[in-house]
Amino acid sequence: MQLEGKIPPGQLAEKWTQYKSTMPLVSPDNKRRLDIIVVGTGLAGASAAASLGELGYNVKVFTFHDSPRRAHSIAAQGGINAAKNYRNDGDSVYRLFYDTVKGGDYRSREANVYRLSEVSANIIDQCVAQGVPFAREYGGYLDNRSFGGVQVQRTFYARGQTGQQLLIGAYQAMSRQVSLGNVTLFNRHEMLDVVLIDGKARGIIARNLVTGEIERHSAHCVILATGGYGNVFYLSTNAMNCNVTAAWRAVKRGAFMANPCFTQIHPTCIPQYGEYQSKLTLMSESLRNDGRVWVPKKVEDAKAIREGRKTANDIPEEDRDYYLERRYPAFGNLVPRDVASRAAKVECDAGKGIVPTGLGVYLDFASAIARYGKSKAHSMGLENPDADTIRKLGEEVVEEKYGNLFEMYEKITGENPYKTPMKIYPAVHYTMGGLWVDYNLETNVPGLFALGECNFSDHGANRLGASALMQGLADGYFVIPYTVGTFLSKEIRTPKFSTDAPEFEEAEKAVTERLTKLLDNNGSQSVESFHRRLGKIMWEYCGMSRNEEGLKKAMGLIRELREEYHKEVYVPGSMNEYNPELEKAHRVADFMELGELMCLDALSRNESCGGHFREEYQTEEGEALRDDKNYAYVAAWEWTDTGKEPRLYKEPLKFEAVELKTRSYK
């Protein structure tokens, strides 16, 4: 079987415009007769539901949260990229496209990324009109800042809560459609299966999480916007309830999972501190605009700090190693995430970590505080200000920029980052891999679409900062409203589907059986304990660096753990009630299968690229060594059945506008 990307013909810059003006349309009258199911209400899901409702389709939208506004997009801190070139610093659609393809280490589709860059500017306009309170300058114009892997300022932001503000914008737009009757909202409903009729996605099975009732919902097509699967690692910056179940259920029904091993490890998170820890907290990448990353040059100093005999402030300037600035002078502290994360690991592996576990480095704001303090004193006309004044003024500026992040850091760690450097370490943050989709964002299952982090399409092997928000909203506001028509224009004569169809019957039965089996298992160990063990295996063998031996071992370990899980797990309560343990048990069961596939994907990709670092494939300087001749493809996996090896399909990546080069940030 040949995977068809369905990339439209023509020049790269013209493709989307031409395609849009020639694609089949659905008339307003027919739209009213067509039903669409959207699963997930994060940026991608909410923006899609709102836009499709505005167009006149009958939309049913599902979220497992109590309110659509809780989706994890809300936690994105730093900002959203857009090629506006408001700074006059040489930005353009092409440059955003180029940065994203390069940042993704040349493992994404050119045409998709170009379209993303093209619509990025519209997203800002849309959000401003919805009332998103972006940061402004004194003149009333929109403000920008920089993110990793780029040399222009194209990131728009709303303090350190950009995701929250954008999500609320999309949530409000969707709420308006709910009030108009175009969108029906099903909160506290979790999708547990997708229903295929004659090979096309025609509905879902969902569980009402309050009553426990299993419900059938039909539609002419199904859109999944259910986020990423970072929680397969147990500890990640994802929210506790983020899971792969909706996407994985699609995989079990024949959808392909693409590049599952491409996971993003974010360099600046608060380090782990204990066994009971339930999640990791991100410190926004925007902090690297002003924070300098360092470790002590001497291993003895690092040891002394770990043992509490010294503090960061005891290490003189000449004994500090600002390793990112040293290794990557062109981008310095603002190298992309994969590069910064690996560099931190290298230092910690060399014994220079500065927290008791050995896994932590400093992110220091002292230079920025001094610089801003001097500048502020100057603008206030203060002559020869003393060090304390400079410090005080500088801290004020830093507070204005990053106040909420500093506060959050202090709440969690109990340390004041204005006075001592932050301690940080990489943690799982985002998954570039996801359901395979074509240019229309349609999976290989007709009528089943995937948007946002749930799909694989735009970030290659590494996502640049402030691009997740951009992609989620691009997919929902500006891509799916057009491309869904390519499928639905052929369905205008299709009547509504009855949920009495045998396909619904079968799917519901399968769901009920799975849940009953978990409940009847009567083992002795908690779901949580298994999830933790799975996470440890994933982090150890399929985390920041991977090798053949480890991956093979991990696959065996996961298989064993999975068997043990289905024998030993204990799920309290019953099916017909509010039962969070049962929800979790079902999600962890799916993670157990996904984990194995991630290892298999990592094992089959005999190269290093972006977030996928295979120890066997590195340059002499320890940088990722790509193999474009053999691996410039998307790995799309078909899940056959547990026990049998999944089947690999390759979609070759063609680069016409960008020359394949070694990615260098030196």
């Binding site: 709102a50 009630e577 509010y578």
Partner: protein
């Protein structure tokens, strides 16, 4: 540290509910929810049903966590959600009372979990700007003074957790509703339909069974995001103007 927890258990909305006592061994680095995780793990290991509580991001931004700790929504720390509250603010031997948010507008679903969908319906009644995808002009076409954007942001920072309702002796939702009214009324983009918005949102708020505001200001004191009661004053002004207006 050894703690005694008095936790509210309630099977469903119809159940009367009661306090249940549990002993937990915690340490000061844990977050409050991690301490509850430990308690739940214990319960599961004894094959008992764990306490249901709502939580998700554990970063203080999603607004899912919702409990009253020793009589205060989100506990004793100012401007801190339950998930960001750490055990270092408690001491060995403490007895901690944990209850759900209590309000007519927030019926209990189970244990500490309440139904806050009334907030969604208030937003659906008018908490938006009527703009469809594709309509807008350039983001810089309409300038917004820095301090106006900043004030709008302060109001928009509300996480919709409902602590304001739980804190209020009247179970009033004025702080939540006024934060949305203010956020949108302050911005030039939102002024166009300000009259309609405030009328519709207030009407829905009343229909949901939330009480009236009698200036107790407990909402502001307990708000984990420090939303100011200035917003209530602004909403009252907006509402008064709207009631004199003949606009639809």
């Amino acid at each position: 540290m050894k703690l005694t927890l008095k936790v509210w258990r309630q099977k469903d909305a119809k159940d009367k509910g009661r306090f249940e006592t549990h002993q937990v061994e915690a340490n000061e680095h844990m977050s409050f929810l991690e301490m509850l995780d430990v308690m739940n793990e214990q319960l599961v290991s004894e094959k008992k049903e764990p306490v249901a509580f709502e939580h998700d991001c554990r970063e203080g931004i999603c607004g899912a966590c919702s409990m009253v700790i020793n009589g205060q929504p989100h506990g004793p720390q100012k401007t801190t959600t339950t998930c960001q509250l750490h055990m270092r603010h408690f001491k060995d031997g403490d007895t901690i009372y944990i209850e759900p948010f209590r309000a007519k507008g927030f019926p209990v679903i189970k244990d500490l979990v309440v139904d806050r969908s009334a907030f969604d319906r208030i937003i659906q009644a008018g908490g938006f700007i009527s703009v469809s995808t594709g309509q807008p002009v350039d983001g810089n076409a309409l300038l917004v003074p820095k301090d106006v954007a900043s004030k709008a942001f302060d109001a928009a920072a509300c996480i919709g957790c409902g602590a304001c309702v739980a804190a209020c002796p009247n179970a009033s939702a004025m702080l939540f509703v006024s934060a949305k009214v203010s956020h949108l009324a302050l911005l030039p983009q939102g002024k166009v339909e300000a009259t309609r918005r405030v009328r519709n949102m207030v009407r829905q708020m009343d229909e949901e069974g939330f009480g009236n505001c009698s200036n107790v200001t407990a909402c502001e004191a307990e708000c984990p995001k420090g939303i100011s009661i200035e917003n209530i004053a602004r909403m009252n002004r907006e509402y008064l103007c709207a009631s004199f207006s003949s606009e639809e």
